[in-house]
């Protein structure tokens, strides 16, 4: 019965309750939409980062990352690849030669990471092959084909079929160079990656470096279930203690934190909105209580305990807040679903985003967990906002309260 009284009390002043409910729902719909928008954005970055750049698990010699020393190759990499491919849930596995070197066009040169891959095996661990804006994946050029990023092509002023020269120090320490021809240009969200990574055939690079073609500096592993990444990586870690086994979160820590940072930002945003709304709610409830002193006095007189009066006012505040919060969440979800299909194109306003690996065309994503968290935050706001007004209501002595007009 107290529940029903609390609910009906809200509608005693439909305009006043309506205004605060509207304020809460506008605030919360903004909060929810920002959350789904950010989530989509971060997911896109994550997907691009993992599926194009990092794959799921990377294996290297522990010291290789320090200065990309040619000699820090994985011992017996072929048998290791064989062994890993026999494990469960392995989707693909690709050994690579990786060096840091100079890449020069006729016009200019720059330092890049040159990645020697087996084109077919690489297809099973990254989606690079599907990201070509021009040319074909290691087709069309017979000798020394190279894939470069769109950004780098622009920087080096090269086009399809242009010649570029890689200058390296080979295994015996001699400086040597090799001419490669652009067979494809890849265009991905991360401008940074485009600018600093090029792909050649592993066999071509081995020949240039005077290495056995079986030599590998890193092995990328792709699983059929992302949930199992940590588990499988731990398995490999324990088995190969002399090697550095890293999940994508470890090999690209900035990607690993992206979810947490995205969530943190949106929660801070939602909390700030709720804080502001909280003051509005407190104000509304103080007005409500001021108007109802006489009635509250009567309730105390006839024997409603302070705890129950407190509970009733708290319930009223929470119901008010939740009505607004719930409407707001629905509105925010509505906005999300309305834009989910086509996405939101920010490229006109935010050209710099792509340099940092963030897409400028964003598809919002709904995540139950964040919605539940927002709902809980709304609930907490309602409870917190009710404490002060409700306490104030209990200060009156019943005789005094009843005498007020």
């Amino acid at each position: 019965m107290i529940r029903s009284v609390a609910w009906r009390n809200i509608w005693r002043s439909p305009l006043r309750s309506g205004i605060i409910i509207a304020a809460i729902s506008v605030g919360m719909s903004a909060g929810v939409f920002t959350t789904t928008f950010t989530k989509g954005w971060m997911n896109q970055r994550l997907e691009a980062g993992v599926e194009t750049e990092a794959s799921h698990i990377r294996i290297q010699q522990p010291k290789f990352g320090e200065n990309y020393d040619l000699k820090e190759s994985i011992p017996n990499s072929e048998s290791l690849v064989n062994e890993i491919s026999k494990l469960d849930h392995i989707n693909g596995i690709s050994p690579r030669i990786v060096i840091q070197s100079m890449l020069a066009s006729a016009e200019t040169g720059t330092g890049v990471k040159i990645i020697g891959i087996n084109p077919e095996k690489e297809k099973t661990v990254t989606n690079l092959h599907s990201k070509l804006s021009e040319g074909k994946y290691f087709e069309g050029v017979k000798r020394n084909p190279i894939l470069i990023g769109a950004k780098l092509a622009k920087k080096l002023k090269v086009k399809m079929r242009s010649k570029v020269v890689i200058t390296v120090q080979d295994a015996s320490g001699n400086i040597t160079g090799g001419a490669f021809r652009v067979c494809g240009i890849f265009d991905i969200t991360s401008g940074m990656f485009e600018e600093t990574n090029v792909f050649v055939r592993k066999t071509d690079l081995a020949r240039l470096l005077d290495l056995e073609s079986s030599v590998s500096h890193e092995i990328l592993v792709h699983l059929d279930d992302t949930e199992l990444i940590d588990q499988q990586s731990l398995l490999l870690k324990n088995k190969h203690k002399n090697l550095l086994v890293q999940t994508w979160k470890e090999s690209m820590p900035e990607l690993g934190y992206i979810n947490e940072i995205g969530n943190l930002y949106t929660y801070i945003f939602v909390i700030i909105i709720l804080l502001a709304l909280g003051f509005g709610i407190v104000n509304t409830m103080l007005m409500v209580i001021l108007e109802r002193i006489k009635e509250l006095g009567m309730l105390m007189a006839i024997g409603m305990s302070k705890a129950r009066i407190f509970g009733m006012l708290m319930l009223e505040t929470v119901l008010l807040t939740f009505t607004g919060g719930f409407t707001g969440i629905l509105l925010g979800l509505g906005a999300t679903y309305a834009t989910m299909e086509k996405g939101i194109d920010l490229s006109d306003y935010a050209a710099g985003l792509e340099d940092m690996g963030y897409s400028s065309h964003i598809y919002p994503v709904v995540e139950l967990e964040t919605l539940v968290t927002i709902a809980i935050l709304v609930l907490i706001t309602g409870i917190a906002a009710s404490v002060y007004p409700a306490r104030k209501a209990l200060k009156y002595n019943p005789a005094e309260a009843i005498r007020t007009e």
Partner: protein, 234 residues
């Protein structure tokens, strides 16, 4: 046996350096089944006395025993509980819960007492019947006349099965017809169910119905008369 014993009761309000002695050394007893009016000019202390008697306000000095319980010895939470179980209240301005229907207003207090739902409903209907509001049980207070609202208030006061009912000027806002009607209902309940009513009033017609008339002036009792044939004296 007395259900209420008041001894040497004082209430002094400190209003900007002037002390108002609103109730001055009042001693009074009430027995079960009384139908007593407290009268006196405005400011004579009627409301103050009733408020203290109902445990809504604390005396400055003196003692109130209700069924041998000293009100001043109860903790504030126990006092609320005590009021709920022992005292029915009727207020001058009805003070019903506006969002509840007549029936729900009566049920509300029984709900606070955690009585079983069936019992609540049965008693509510009986009480609304007794105050002549059968058929109006689903109306909200705003749809009822002042007289009808006050009758709901009487039904509510009785719902908790109190030992006595306190009513501070219950008819002050009512027209003469409603006043007469309400008094009849109260008298009837007093006679048939032996319910104790203590009410304050300005209205001579209400005074005439009372079986006992206590007159206050400047916070003191100046007379306490019982009418013949009312059986509440011993």
């Amino acid at each position: 046996m007395n259900i209420i014993e008041i001894t040497n009761l004082h209430k002094i309000y400190n209003e900007s350096e002037v002390n108002v002695h609103a109730v001055n050394n009042v001693s009074l007893n009430f027995k079960e089944g009384e139908f007593a009016a407290i009268v006196g000019p405005s400011g004579s202390g009627k409301s103050t006395l009733l408020n203290m008697l109902g445990g809504l306000d604390e005396p400055t000095d003196g003692k109130i025993l209700i069924d041998n319980t000293d009100l001043s010895e109860l903790k504030s939470s126990d006092l609320i509980q005590f009021r709920m179980q022992n005292i029915g209240f009727v207020f001058q301005s009805y003070n019903l819960i506006p969002v509840l229907t007549a029936k729900e207003n009566v049920e509300f207090i029984m709900h606070l007492q955690n009585r079983p739902k069936k019992e609540c409903e049965k008693r509510t209907m009986e009480l609304l019947d007794a105050v002549g509001l059968k058929g109006r049980e689903n109306s909200r207070p705003s749809k009822l006349s002042g007289g009808q609202q006050q009758r709901v208030a009487v039904a509510r006061a009785l719902a908790s099965k109190p030992k006595f009912v306190l009513a501070d000027e219950p008819t002050a806002n009512l027209d003469s017809k409603s006043t007469e009607n309400l008094l009849e209902i109260m008298e009837d309940l007093n006679k048939k169910e032996n319910i104790t009513f203590i009410f304050s009033t300005h209205d001579q017609r209400v005074v005439n119905k009372a079986h006992r008339v206590i007159t206050l002036e400047d916070g003191k009792i100046i007379s306490d008369e019982r009418k013949k044939g009312t059986g509440s004296d011993s």
